[in-house]
Symmetry: C2
Subunit: 134 residues, 2 copies
DNA sequence: GTACGTGCAAAGGTTTTGCATTACA
DNA sequence: TGTAATGCAAAACCTTTGCACGTAC
């Protein structure tokens, strides 16, 4: 939670609970996932509040909005450059540390101004490999 | 259109129009984009038919469903392994030929069974660079 | 002729918006 | 105290589904 202490947003109990859930979370939760967790402590919690808080965090660069899951947006509190492994069966998203910067062709760099880039690798996670017939 | 000739699906006039639009198309259109184009020739065209046809093509491996755009799915008739440049301003998606296979860390390959992987590079396209203050 | 595609309408799921109430700073 | 967050409901989107009718093969 240290990292969220001075991010310049009003810290309500609901927001603290959201930040508590997100800090160090590597599960890449959806808004609904966040809502489910925070609802335990705040039964009157609203999904709209979750979305609103996530929007603020995204704007402040404290979370990334992932567009990997075709069904819903997912959020990642790990904002340093890294890559993702996605299980085609259970949709689990696993972090893959960035080994080195991705090299892009020279003519690409000259045309586009690249801000960030990452790798998405799709496959089957250890748990699903055992049970699923691909 | 050659490539779609023998893909084993009933070829209705509507579907031929969709295939005509997709073949060689590098704009990564959404279902709505496809619908807009095909509607010109078939005013009674239904969005549901577009979605249904895209689902069949996806199943047959003739198009890829891209989850890059947070607002809607987009489709790519180029199914060979390649990467994407995404303009953060106009959301244009540009193909980037795959130079070599992406190397992943050894321990990742041992755990996950990787099926495919690609790079997503975000930045500003030449047109937007000129007009937008980043 | 039959299985399958089409088109319309309705429903489903996620995300956004409006607004009155509440609470942080 | 004033500005901003919360919570509820409704709306906005994209996408899917059900069903009667029509058509490719």
């Amino acid at each position: 939670m240290q990292r969220f202490r001075y991010i310049g947003m009003k810290l309500t109990p609901q927001r603290l609970a959201i930040l508590d859930f997100l800090d160090g979370n590597t599960s890449h939760p959806s808004a609904e996932d966040v809502f489910q967790f925070v609802s335990k402590r705040f039964p009157t919690m609203s999904l709209a509040t979750v979305y609103s808080t996530l929007a603020v965090l995204k704007k402040k660069g404290e979370v990334l909005e992932l567009t990997i899951d075709p069904d819903k947006k997912r959020y990642d509190p790990e904002t340093s450059e890294h890559h993702h492994l996605i299980c085609l069966s259970c949709k689990r998203i696993v972090d893959m540390p960035s080994e080195r910067r991705i090299e892009l062709p020279e003519r690409v760099i000259q045309n586009f101004t690249i801000v960030k880039s990452h790798i998405e690798a799709y496959g089957y996670c250890p748990a699903c490999k055992k049970t699923i017939t691909v």
